[in-house]
C-alpha cells in the first residue's frame, strides 16, 4: 500500500496541471475543460453531445471533453477535487448531500425540473391507490428515491412498517416476473423497458408530483473555485449547452445521431423515446418561462425542507450558497428558452 502514497503524490501532480494551465491557455482563446456526466452516454445528455459536435463550446472558447459517468463514480467528488470542471450530477439530493459533507461544489443549473421517476405497479393488480402499497413489496433506489417514497407514503398515512422496501438495482425483471409489487422507474429508462416488456396498458404509475412532492434532478455543478474565479467560463458553458439542447430538442434525429455515434451499441428506439422524455422533464415547470437549467428556488427550498423533515439531511443548508442562479441570469431570457 506504500505505492498508494506515491500514487497520491503523482496523482496530485497530475491533477493540478489540469487546473493550472488554463490561465495560460486562456491567452490563446480556448480553455480546456471537462464535463462529467452522471451516467453512461445516452440521449439523456444529447444536448451536450450536440453542442460539442456543432462546435458551440469552441465558439465560447471552451475545449470541452465529455466524460461519461458510471456506477461507483460520484460526479460531486470529481468536480470538488478539480478532476472535472463541470458535472451533471445526481440531482438536488446529491447536491444537498455534498454540501452537507463540505464538498466545495455549487449548483449552477437544474436540468430536470420535475421528478424524473415514477413508481409503477401492475394495472390489473390489487394496487390502485397509493394506500394500497400497504403490505406490499416495493423496490427503489436508496439514493434519494427512497426518501421520496417514504414521504409520499407518509402523506398517504402509511408508516415505514406497513410495507416492505428493498433496494433496487440493475434490473426490472423481478417486477416483470411478479416477484415484487411496485418498482421504481425513470420516465426515460426503466419505464421504457417495462413498456416494451409488458405493454403500457399493463402499467399503473404513481408520480411524486401527485402527492405534491417535486424533486428536481440532473443538476449542473462546478467547484466553488471555478464559480469564483471563472464566471465567464461557466456562462459560456451554459450558453453553449443551452444552444445544443435547444437544437437537440427541435431536431431530435440529430440529437439521437450524435449520441449513437458516441455509443453505437445503444438501442435507437429507446434513445429516441428517452430524448422525448428528457425534453419534457427539461421544459416542465418554471423552465417553460425562465428557460433551460432554470433554478426554481421555491422548488429547491421545498425539496430541502422535505429532506430535512425526513432526516435525510441533518441540519438546514445555506441554499443561496449551494444554488447560484447568477450565471443563468447573466444570459438573456430569449437565449435561455428551449
Amino acid at each position: 500500500m506504500q505505492r498508494r502514497h506515491l500514487l497520491t503524490a503523482a496523482g496530485a501532480a497530475a491533477m493540478f496541471p489540469a487546473i493550472l494551465p488554463r490561465r495560460g491557455a486562456r491567452a490563446q482563446g480556448t480553455t480546456k475543460a471537462s464535463l462529467r456526466l452522471k451516467w453512461l452516454p445516452q440521449t439523456q445528455f444529447a444536448g451536450f453531445y450536440l453542442a460539442k459536435a456543432r462546435g458551440y463550446y469552441e465558439a465560447e472558447g471552451i475545449d470541452l471533453t465529455i466524460n461519461p459517468g458510471g456506477p461507483n463514480l460520484l460526479t460531486e467528488n470529481l468536480v470538488a477535487t478539480g478532476a472535472d470542471t463541470f458535472g451533471l450530477s445526481g440531482g438536488t439530493d446529491s447536491v444537498f448531500a455534498a454540501r452537507e459533507k463540505n464538498l466545495p461544489i455549487v449548483c449552477i443549473g437544474v436540468s430536470h425540473q420535475q421528478t424524473p421517476f415514477v413508481f409503477v405497479s401492475r394495472a390489473d393488480g390489487p394496487i390502485r391507490t397509493i394506500q394500497d402499497f400497504k403490505g406490499k413489496t416495493i423496490t427503489t433506489w436508496y439514493t434519494g428515491a427512497n426518501s421520496v417514497l417514504l414521504g409520499m407514503l407518509a402523506k398517504a398515512g402509511l408508516k415505514p412498517g406497513d410495507f416492505t422496501m428493498q433496494p433496487q438495482q440493475v434490473s426490472v425483471t423481478p417486477f416483470v416476473d411478479g416477484q415484487i409489487d411496485v418498482v421504481t422507474a425513470t420516465r426515460y429508462n426503466e419505464f421504457y423497458t417495462l413498456m416494451t416488456r409488458m405493454g403500457r396498458d399493463k402499467l399503473r404509475t404513481f408520480a411524486p408530483e401527485e402527492q405534491g412532492i417535486v424533486f428536481p434532478r440532473d443538476t449542473l455543478i462546478v467547484s466553488e473555485t471555478t464559480a469564483r474565479q471563472k464566471p465567464e467560463l461557466v456562462k459560456g458553458f451554459l450558453r453553449a449547452s443551452m444552444k445544443g439542447w435547444r437544437e437537440a430538442l427541435k431536431d431530435q434525429k440529430a440529437g439521437v445521431d450524435v449520441v449513437m455515434a458516441a455509443a453505437p451499441t445503444l438501442n435507437r428506439d429507446h434513445q429516441e423515446f428517452m430524448l422525448v422524455e428528457a425534453g419534457k422533464l427539461m421544459t416542465a415547470g418554471a423552465a417553460a418561462r425562465d428557460g433551460l437549467f432554470w433554478i426554481d428556488q421555491a422548488t429547491v427550498k421545498s425539496a430541502h425542507d422535505f429532506f430535512l423533515e425526513h432526516g435525510v439531511i441533518k441540519a438546514p443548508l445555506d441554499l443561496a450558497a449551494a444554488y447560484d442562479r447568477s450565471f443563468l441570469e447573466a444570459i438573456a431570457v430569449a437565449d435561455r428558452r428551449a
Partner: protein, 258 residues
C-alpha cells in the same frame, strides 16, 4: 514458411482441428438454444449475438483494441515490476520481510472499491486502467519469481561463484533461467488477471472498451449485447493466454528436462 517434408504440416492439422472444434461448439450452442427453447433473456442464439456484433462492428473492434492495449500495458508493467520485486526480495531478505506482508494485504483489497480514487488520481486515461491491471498482476509474478529463485540449488550457485561469476552474472546466467518455469506459471495467471483489471478499470466512466460495452449492456438489460461483449472478452482472453503459453513453450523448453 519453409517447405515441409510432410504432406500436411502439423500446424495446419492443428489449425484445422481447432477450427473444426469451434464450428462444432457454435453448432451445439445454436442447436441447444433452438432445441431446448431457451429464453433469449437467458441465452440468445449465437447467430443473434454475431449479427449484433456485425451491426456495429466498429464499436466492438475499437473496444477490443482499447481493452487489449490496456491489458498489454498492465501485463508488461506487472511482469517487469514483479520480476524485479522478486529479485529484490531474493537479494535483500530484510526488504522482503518488511514489504511482503504489505503486498499480501494489498491483494485482499477489491480494487473496484477504489475506482473513484483511481479516476481522481489518474483521470480517464489509458494509464488508469493499466494501473489497475498492473495492481492485479504484479503480486503473483513477485511471489513466483521469489519461489523460483529460492528453489535454485545453492550448490550450483556456489559452483558458479567459485568460477568468479559476479552476483549479476549468477542472476542472469543461472538463477533467473532456473526460475523461469515458475515465473511463467505466474505470467499465465497474470495474463488473465490483467484482462480483469482492464475490464473493471473501464467501469469508471470510460468511453470505449469491452468493460464499457458490458456495463452499457447490463444497465440496458441488453442480454444480446452482454453476450457479444463476453464473446469478445473470451476471444481476447483466450488469445492472450495462448500467446503467453506459446512463449512459455518456446522459451522454457528445457523446463521439463531439468
Amino acid at each position: 514458411m519453409p517447405v515441409c517434408a510432410h504432406p500436411v504440416p502439423p500446424w495446419l492439422l492443428m489449425g484445422a482441428r481447432f477450427i473444426l472444434g469451434l464450428v462444432a461448439a457454435a453448432l451445439l450452442w445454436e442447436g441447444a438454444v433452438i432445441a431446448f427453447g431457451i429464453r433469449p433473456h437467458i441465452l440468445p442464439r449465437l447467430s443473434t449475438i454475431l449479427s449484433a456484433i456485425a451491426a456495429t462492428p466498429g464499436a466492438y473492434w475499437s473496444g477490443f483494441l482499447r481493452t487489449l492495449l490496456e491489458t498489454l500495458i498492465g501485463f508488461a508493467a506487472g511482469a517487469i515490476v514483479g520480476v524485479l520485486n522478486g529479485v529484490m526480495f531474493f537479494r535483500a531478505p530484510v526488504l522482503r520481510d518488511l514489504l511482503f506482508p504489505i503486498f499480501v494485504v494489498s491483494q485482499t483489497i477489491p480494487v473496484i472499491a477504489f475506482g473513484a480514487l483511481v479516476v481522481l488520481w489518474f483521470g480517464n486515461t489509458l494509464l488508469a486502467k493499466a494501473v489497475i491491471a498492473f495492481y492485479l498482476t504484479f503480486f503473483p509474478v513477485t511471489v513466483n519469481t521469489l519461489l523460483g529463485l529460492q528453489s535454485v540449488d545453492p550448490r550450483q550457485t556456489a559452483l558458479l561463484r567459485s568460477f568468479g561469476a559476479s552476483g549479476r552474472q549468477q542472476m542472469l546466467r543461472l538463477q533467473l533461467p532456473m526460475a523461469l518455469p515458475q515465473i511463467f506459471v505466474a505470467l499465465r495467471l497474470a495474463a488473465s488477471l490483467s484482462l480483469v483489471g482492464a475490464i473493471v478499470g473501464e467501469w469508471f466512466g470510460d468511453t470505449t472498451g469491452l468493460g464499457v460495452l458490458l456495463l452499457q449492456a447490463m444497465y440496458n438489460e441488453n442480454v444480446v449485447g452482454l453476450w457479444a461483449a463476453i464473446l469478445c472478452a473470451a476471444v481476447l482472453g483466450t488469445g492472450f493466454y495462448a500467446l503467453v503459453a506459446y512463449a512459455e513453450r518456446r522459451i522454457v523448453f528445457w523446463g521439463a528436462e531439468q
